[in-house]
Subunit: 390 residues, 4 copies
């Protein structure tokens, strides 16, 4: 159970690039970072509109002189200070992730970056090498994986409660883009433009969440080959997709199917994960994150609730509200931010032993997400053909 | 609303082949056929064990002399009587459907047959031609499609309430075969043996239900190509599958995905259908057949209940219990049996005008199911490759 | 598992009083009675409109001369026949139950009657004495208690799986009478008029279902005192109620609460039963009759499904569809009708030993329902005061 | 939509009494207060064990010298500082609320207090007078009412979307105290002892949440009389109750029923609210706080989701995560803490105009909760009799 006690040496001095008043994602970062005194928001380049960024940042309690017009200015300003930021979150459109992250690392600043991380695995590798060289952390905000019951599933799989894994069924769909993009806002525009979004729309935007969460639950599973069939139901989004299906063959013989879509009209169920083993299955949805279905073949179905003593230690450790009291996405983000802070703190302390076993969404996780996207696109571009996973 | 009033000239004299004491499917036929006085069970070859068949049949109220040892004897005995059966239901393993149906038709008897109908489209075509020549009806027991809300979905699609159809998501899974087949009963043995089951296990056994129901809801949609990936997680079932995924491209640009499995450990949710259009989606499951989700993008989700005045006429006509009172699979089978009886009655009366517009699961429906299976197997056998639908 | 095999000597010759074309309840009787060949519908006084009754009855397959204008004519006609009816179902407004039942019994005919049985316990006692004298059965159509999982709950309680019973929470509500009764149909009119409905509206119409089902699950519990608070939100229904709450003290110290209403606007959830013990609770709703919640304190919640081998024998015996396949209210009515037929058959055979342990909704069950209504009304009329249960 | 921008002049300097390491409630206060920079935790008397309190407080980032051994020391220390606390939260057992609140107010410090506020209305009135005299705010942590959809319900009622209110159905139950209290922790011990808990256990502990939330949704409704029937299923808890039912007559003729229990074995559904009007009903549960059922009689049931544009302005204003992304109890507490901060800020600024219309759980709300408890106990003590609401 989390109760707010500090688990690191001192609060991290934290800045943001992006995440300003007109977007939706910035508050997720802030509510995730700030509730436990682990981070202190001291600087930001919140907005392309500099004046609005200053107004916004000061409203957040950031000193006016530390509300910068650009990320370059932020780096310049903060590195010049004795009390400059330790870490900066990058909450900007995809196409800027690489250059901003690179610049921050080069300035000696830890980075927390939105997913999908970068456009290519090559870029990821370059950043990974740079981070290693600079002895810095790069965290990725796969926020949903902060929910405690995700780790309950992983523990149950690890204990063999499901038997041999056979089927991985993943879905993240909604209908918010069911209509065309005429008059759409900036957040839609950049996501549907390859120049700003990269090679994918929904695969990267929401599919990477599915992929990373499945990796947490099933760390042993390796993809052998996959097939991706994608489509833009709103034609102007092509070559990017608003709907995609991915079939997967895992090396242990398991089979996967995955569905992402932003044109699933009216669907508010969001994500659904089902992991089927030879003995039992678990199923979880982010829309009711406090409960987990555990289906043992031949027995009554079970509903496990967050915060209850019958859970595995891994499923309880990062519970915040306790049984009977709901947790939300903000609580999950808090855990992600906490785990990244613990990594940064360990890095600062030179505690590589801690880092060797500490789990958080790191540069490797981000890289694997991009690798998966590359394979999906390669399959789709080959006529939705099976491709060996590379 | 159904209230039991007869809609045909006289009750049909009805016989059964198979459906005896040791199996599960026979009662579904009987409870479907008998509740409304549309059929009278007067003859049967219920069991391979002749004595047990007589004991069983007489317990059902069939005269002892009309409890036959074989279907051949049934045909011989019944055709020799002035009051012989009008129609016979075939509730035997798949591999016997063709020969029994053919013999019954040749004897001038209407047929109601379990799905999957026959092994090949060629067999279906042969039977269709024979039925036409003999002026007889062949019905297929796609029991789930008797649920009123299936027809509510069809009516909503036809009225354009969903807009253009984009995505068809179909699932019928359970976990009853998650374990191996050592010591399994006859029903499992014949279903997992190509000689008795045909070229598929779960695709034919449960997948054809998905396919036929989707045809009812979306009669305009045509498959352009599909890809089937199948697998036997219990190796002894190979080359038949206990898990399969099918991706579909429809000629209007819609995309389909379908999942059938009998190794989805612990899953009791059974079937799930979601039809996504440009404006709205509908979703229905046989496990809660009395309600239908209607998701209009940008509006609150709606739950429609069976038997309520706000439904379309097509969704109300065959309601039996009325709003607030549950219907079950038996009620759905009753509708299927009723619709087939109405077809037989019309055929007897020579009322081809009625038959021209009367909907029931007919030889064409059964044939299309087998055609779909052939395409699935062709794709799977080609390395789970895309194949044009033939 | 039920498979349609006859469990009585011969099909019962069955007639109906009421249940004609314009009402909703008649089909529930017919679909319950007829599916298994236990009853043969051979006579009826279906309708106050004699010609419509004949048209309707012959459409059901009843011979024209056995479609009577009145119940008196039915009794006269049928008792004059060697093959006259064995049993008659009474599906008429409440105020006629007593006189029709009495006349049928006096004519030597078994009776199946709608609930609430009669207006007073005195009437019930008179009928019970008459039935005993005539050696006849009186069954009551508490249809919902035919669902197999109701008996699963009873078996779990009997085995002590819940521990000591502490709380009984019962609810049967809907909103179909949320509006006023201007222009309402006959079924509403007679139910809201004390002359034809008796001393209650929703307490008798739907509350008696709750009470009887709770008696089945908790046969040991005795009411010590209760308090009933009732109200007519539509004033024209007064003194009858469209909403009532009943608090109960049981002799073992358990506490009960019950809610019935027909003005719960938009509510389609219907009935909900929760039985809370010192160790665990069970919860069941007729709107999803195939599943049962089993909540053991400190353990994951469990969902039990009908037809599954892990159920108690009592919960499986009268299953009709088997696991994974839904049952509906019609299946439940079939069980009720079967159990009553078995009682009649035993009475005909003089098998009092069978009757001594055979459970079915009998005259005692009907009487207890009326007794409960009398106590409720007494409390309500005393200013919603506590009254000792008499 | 909340995005973290400050809505008050400056962050409030905040202290806590209670809420230490061994309890569960402290983190709810902290996660509620701290995420948006509205409060800064600068002082505390966290623990009866002074050393543990210092260890804990410093771990939270509080300076060691401001981690006090007692609330008296906190008041003395903080009032001696120029930068002393503005406001203190009281998260201690019930019996200490009054004296601590009184002492804080006398020291000129705003108070945020756990519910149930005090033992008697007289105490509430005394505190209200003192707060008025001192020009200070007293807030009460009715955390659940911070959920945005609670205010959506209120807005729908206010707009007349439900018609005339007829039925108020409230439930807050769980099973965590189904077993006896042998070996129970401190939190159970003080709650079941009248000296420390006051005159009630579950009525005060969880019932006051139901009552206050219903007041928010239905501000016009006034209780005319009520009847409370309570019981201790674990006898050692008597005279306090672990189960209670309350029936209510409202002055407009509406009827209420309420159930609180901590012996509802295995129940994890927590709170359920249903407000029934002449046209429609709304239903909400804290266990799925992001959705709201809207049942219009005669129309499909509707599910409204948090954060969606179709909601009323009041239902959207305090949304934090946006549609599709879950909110939890922590988000609700954040809103409560925000609203109280806005009140304190206005009080500091002397902005009585703002306060005149600003809604937050204030001393009046807390008083009404205690008044309701007094009436419940009076009824229960009179033999569960009807009492006029005073």
């Amino acid at each position: 159970m989390i109760n707010g006690e500090r688990t690191i040496q001192r609060p991290l001095r934290w800045g943001m690039v992006g995440g300003g008043r007109t977007g939706q994602v910035g508050y997720k970062h802030r509510t995730g970072a700030l509730r436990d005194g682990t981070y202190q928001l001291v600087a930001g380049a919140f907005d392309l509109d500099a004046a609005r960024g200053v107004d916004f940042g000061t409203n957040l309690g950031v000193a006016e002189e530390r509300c910068y017009a650009t990320y370059q200015a932020l780096i310049a300003g903060e590195t010049a200070r004795a009390d400059g930021v330790d870490v900066v979150s990058v909450a900007t459109p995809n196409f800027t992730h690489f250059e901003i992250t690179k610049a921050l690392l080069n300035a000696g600043i830890h980075v927390i970056c939105e997913k999908p991380l970068f456009f290519t695995v090559a870029e990821c590798d370059e950043i990974a090498a740079l981070a290693a060289e600079k002895n810095l952390i790069v965290g990725v905000t796969y926020g949903f994986t902060g929910h405690p019951l995700v780790h309950q599933m992983a523990a149950m799989v690890a204990k063999g409660m499901l038997g041999d894994i056979r089927i991985v069924d993943l879905q993240y769909t909604h209908g918010f883009n069911a209509g065309d993009d005429v008059g759409a806002g900036e957040a839609v525009k950049w996501r549907t433009n390859p120049a700003t979004a990269g090679a994918t729309f929904v695969l990267g935007d929401i599919g990477t969440h599915l992929y990373y969460l499945s990796e947490i639950v099933l760390p042993e599973l390796k993809i052998e080959k996959l097939l991706c069939d994608r489509k833009a139901f709103i034609a102007t989004r092509a070559p990017l997709e608003d709907h995609a299906t991915v079939l997967t063959h895992y090396s242990n013989g398991a089979r996967g199917r995955l569905w992402v879509s932003s044109v699933n009209a009216g669907n508010m169920g969001s994500q659904r994960y089902r992991f089927v083993g030879s003995k039992a299955s678990v199923e979880w949805s982010d829309s009711h994150p406090d409960q987990l279905l555990y289906d043992v073949q031949g027995e009554p179905n079970q509903i496990l609730h967050h915060g209850m003593p019958y859970l595995e230690a891994e499923g309880l450790k990062y519970d915040r509200m306790g049984g009977l009291h709901t947790e939300g996405l903000g609580d999950a983000w808090s855990n992600i931010y906490l785990w990244i802070a613990q990594a940064i703190d360990a890095k600062m302390r030179g505690d590589e032993a801690f880092l060797a076993t500490h789990h958080y969404p790191d540069i490797h996780a981000g890289t694997e997400g991009v690798r998966w996207l590359e394979n999906c696109v390669r399959s789709a571009d080959a006529g939705s053909a099976w491709v060996d996973f590379e």
